[in-house]
């Protein structure tokens, strides 16, 4: 038996190694990062290539394509199609509709909006879920009952329909509660709607984990040493939730983006003239027959982003909690054999 100390790797390092071994996930992480770079480059493209803003109209303007003058929007209201680099990068993907805005510029700025709403809503929902999950799981009793039942109520609501109704109301009147005032076109409106309605999807599994963790010896030891509940929750339990939170956060970004796209498509999310990929699909659908790319491109961008985040999220879960995957696989196998219902502790995302 050797007395040489073995090289011990930390849990994060092990997780990274496991994640990197998943080539599909690494590839899709690359795709996601490319998308992020693409949308962050929006001002550069707008200022130096397209020479127009995302909301700037060019209805009656003409551009020079290979030395020939072309209407951005024809007299019959047909927008110009993709010009690629024939007009020096202007109207690279054509005009977005009868107002004659540059589709490429709007796609890039729209992506910024979609990602901003998705990440902000997921972040807000995750923070709220952590706080609620910790309180419910740690204190138990009436606190748990109150929080759990409230989450159940939100869970049982037809989330999208209510989100749609609230979104339409906020889109017209904005929001004013005490000092909090949001104008009707504020991006905070869809962010708040999405985050509030998606809290239960993270808070419930977190509560379950906190319930289990709060009975562990290290927690009892901390309490015995006189640590306050807040200290126990945030310094003892919370670090142990990291893997769950990271996985859910990645998946929630994808779900929030889909939620935003749906709300915006129906006029209850991001408000014109601002673009998001959801609002761009709305404009594109009307012109589907004459300029199908106008609907397809933002749809494709949403699909790629959501797919990337879902694959990365799954890979993160496998990497951060391999036993969790084994447990899940066993539970799924059991379910398949016995016809049992949803495995305990497994949350279904909207």
């Amino acid at each position: 038996m050797s007395n040489e100390p073995s090289v011990e790797r930390g849990p994060w390092s092990l997780a990274l190694r496991r994640f990197l071994r998943n080539r599909l996930a690494v590839a899709f992480l690359g795709v996601f990062l490319l998308i992020v770079v693409f949308v962050l480059a929006a001002p550069l493209w707008a200022d130096h290539v397209a020479e127009t803003g995302p909301n700037q109209e060019h209805t009656v303007e003409q551009i020079t394509v290979d030395g020939e003058k072309k209407d951005v929007v024809s007299v019959e209201g047909k927008p110009i199609g993709p010009q690629w680099f024939a007009a020096g990068g202007k109207f690279f993907l054509g005009a977005d509709g009868r107002i004659g805005r540059d589709e490429m510029v709007r796609l890039m700025y729209g992506g910024r909006t979609s990602l901003l709403v998705g990440i902000s809503a997921a972040l807000l929902a995750t923070i709220l879920a952590i706080v609620l999950g910790l309180l419910a799981g740690y204190f138990g009793g009436w606190v748990d009952s109150l929080i759990a039942r409230t989450l159940d109520v939100i869970w049982s609501l037809p989330v999208f329909l209510i989100g749609l109704a609230v979104g339409i109301a906020l889109a017209v009147g904005g929001l004013k509660i005490g000092p909090l005032e949001l104008s009707s076109g504020s991006l905070w409106n869809p962010i708040l709607i999405i985050s509030i309605f998606t809290v239960p999807y993270i808070a419930r599994p977190i509560r379950g984990e906190v319930l289990a963790l709060s009975r562990k010896e290290f927690v009892e030891a901390a309490i015995a040493q006189g640590a306050s509940p807040v200290r126990v929750m945030f310094t003892e339990i919370l670090p142990n939730l990291a893997s769950t939170v990271i996985v859910f956060f990645a998946l929630m970004i994808a779900n929030s983006m889909l939620f935003e796209a749906g709300l915006s498509f129906l006029g209850a999310g991001v408000q014109p003239p601002n673009s998001s990929w959801g609002t761009m699909i709305t404009v594109g659908v009307e012109l589907l027959r004459i300029q199908p790319l106008l609907a397809i491109l933002p749809g494709l961008m949403i699909m790629l982003t959501v797919l990337s985040l879902n694959i990365v999220g799954d890979a993160l879960r496998d990497a951060l909690d391999p036993r969790g995957k084994a447990r899940l696989d066993a539970a799924l196998e059991f379910e398949a054999q016995s016809g049992a219902t949803q495995p305990v502790g497994e949350a279904t995302l909207p």
Binding site: S74, R98, I99, E286, L287, R289
Partner: protein, 548 residues
């Protein structure tokens, strides 16, 4: 030189055609042209009308749907274009006799008229119908409040209205007005003045419309989904004989289905699933449909309408006439023609072509430099504004365009796009915050210029709710002229005065008008396009459709 045999053949054909044509016209014959008699018209609307009750409906869809069902005392000629603006007797025997300095209107009901349920139409049904309409707080009430006692009735909802006297035996109807009203003849021909039985419940009857007086009756109505027509059995027996000038219709009935997807509507009409779509094809399909079917299944119809952007003249920054004039110079109607995909003709004045008194002028040619100069001169301190538009395409795009124009002028704008169903309610309610500027349109209620000035630009029309004077325009000089002209019967002198008023108001620029809309008739290849009548007030007449 023509060959004699060919000449003889032409003469024989001409004679046969003359015989054929002469057998089609006149009296109570149900034929309207050379098409096939009978058949059920299968048609589609993009939305259900606001109401399927003549007392309440105030939309083009509603009036089109009920134009051949409910006949007022006076009616409009079943004709295309300007000819369709001619008022003619409806249930009344002849045009009203106007006396007492324009304050008394005397009419006589045609004898022998019956509702579609067999009940005789009585002279006393007319005041009862008006009372029902006013009691329902109909948007049509203001047109009839000059009748003596009508205003009090509107407040108390207790009748009868003393200004209307009737005699059921003679059919005489005498209407006394408090002051002369030059538009009252037109208003007696509005859908709101349709005559329904006295015992008709005072409630919205959209799901169970009242009995008809016209050639068709509504046999089934499912709000939101559709409705059906059949021939009114008492048209052939009674009303048709009493009103020979009104057509009996060719088809035996119609089934209307609401299809909210306009793209599907176009496909369905193209494939013959539906025989006609009431609304125009969507802007994205308009050019394609026009190119493919114009002349055979498609026709462009001019409307008497004005599309405009309003500015709130009572609040900064638009309380400054220079700012409003700057906006007028900055709006480019050519851009809006493209946004409306060729379904709009550029114009920068209030009265539209086709309206009596219309005299073309261009007060504010597109000139961005001039707009910027005026803005500099005005130097408004409040630059934060909210722009309102409805969500229906391409109106939403017109609103977005206006928003960008205002941004270019230096305003900090917030764009609010409101569902088309609620748009007029929201923008017509003074409690809605930040009603600074927005999109709107107006289609004629009747061919009289007062219909554009009184409800939209007279100070007295500003109301806390259901306000159509979105510009909150209240100029004492203009108010006085509108009031004076409204009391006179329309003649050449008045037409000249209305044309001048158009120019005077545009100098004060409460609106930035940008065009006049065209709509269209699109039918399947089974329908005879030439027979279809589009009336500028009532739209397409069901009675004019014929299968080939």
């Amino acid at each position: 030189m023509k060959k004699p045999a060919a000449l003889i053949a032409v003469l024989v054909l001409a004679a046969l055609a003359t015989i054929g044509l002469s057998s089609c016209g006149g009296g109570d014959d149900t034929s309207g042209g050379s098409g096939k008699q009978g058949g059920i018209l299968n048609a589609t609307y993009a939305s259900f009308p606001d109401y399927m009750d003549p007392a309440l409906s105030y939309t083009a869809e509603g009036w089109t749907a009920m134009a051949d069902v409910y006949i007022p005392l006076l009616a409009y000629k079943h004709a295309n274009g300007e000819e369709g603006g001619e008022v003619m007797p409806g249930l009344a025997k002849e045009m009203p006799k106007i006396s007492n300095g324009g304050k008394t209107y005397t009419l006589f009901l045609r004898p022998g008229l019956k509702y579609s349920d067999g009940t005789p139409v009585k002279a006393s049904d007319f005041p009862a119908s008006l009372e029902r309409m006013i009691a329902l707080n109909s948007p049509g009430s203001p047109f009839y409040l000059t009748i003596e006692g009508a205003e009090k009735f509107a407040e108390t909802k207790k009748g009868p209205i003393p200004g209307i006297e009737t005699n059921d035996k003679t059919g005489e109807i005498v209407i006394n007005l408090e002051s002369p009203r030059g538009t009252f003849t037109n208003e007696l021909g509005m859908m709101f003045a349709s005559v329904v039985p006295q015992d008709t419940p005072v409630e919205d009857l959209s799901a169970n419309p009242p009995p008809a007086t016209g050639p068709y009756m509504i046999t089934k109505s499912q709000p939101g989904k559709g409705w059906e027509y059949k021939r009114n059995p008492y048209w052939a027996k009674a009303n048709g004989k009493a009103m020979p000038d009104l057509p009996a219709g060719v088809v035996d009935g119609a089934k209307i289905t609401v299809v909210r997807n306009e793209q599907s509507q176009v496909d369905d009409v193209e494939q013959g699933t539906y025989d006609w779509m009431q609304n125009p094809p969507p802007s994205s399909r308009y050019a394609e449909v026009k190119e493919k079917f114009e002349g055979t299944q498609f026709r462009v119809e001019p409307t008497i309408s004005t599309y405009y952007f309003w500015m709130n003249t009572q609040e900064p920054p638009f309380d400054d006439v220079k700012v409003r004039q700057a906006v007028n110079h900055a709006v480019d109607p050519k851009a809006l023609e493209r946004i409306y995909a060729g379904q709009l003709t550029a114009s920068k004045q209030i009265l539209p072509p086709g309206m009596p008194s219309y005299k073309e002028f261009e007060p504010y040619p597109y000139d961005l430099a001039e707009a910027e100069r005026l803005m500099k001169e005005a130097n408004p301190s409040d630059m934060d504004i909210t722009v309102w538009t409805d969500a229906e395409s391409p109106n939403n795009e017109a609103g977005e365009y206006f928003n960008e124009v205002l941004k270019e002028l230096g305003f900090n704008t917030t764009l609010k796009i409101v569902n088309a169903d609620n748009f007029t309610t929201v923008t017509g309610n003074e409690s809605t915050p930040n009603l600074d500027a927005g999109w709107s349109n107006w289609f004629e209620d009747y061919p009289h210029p007062n219909d554009f000035f009184q409800p939209l630009l007279a100070g007295e029309s500003i109301q806390p709710t259901n306000n159509y004077n979105n510009a909150y325009f209240d100029d004492p000089g203009v108010n006085k002229k509108i009031k004076e002209l409204a009391e006179e019967q329309l003649g050449p002198e008045q037409e000249e005065a209305y044309a001048k008023l158009d120019e005077e108001i545009m100098e004060l620029a409460p609106w930035a008008p940008f065009g006049n809309r065209t709509v269209s008739t699109f039918v399947s290849d089974e329908i005879d396009l030439d027979s279809v009548i589009f009336n500028p007030t009532f739209g397409h007449y069901l009675s004019s459709f014929e299968f080939k």
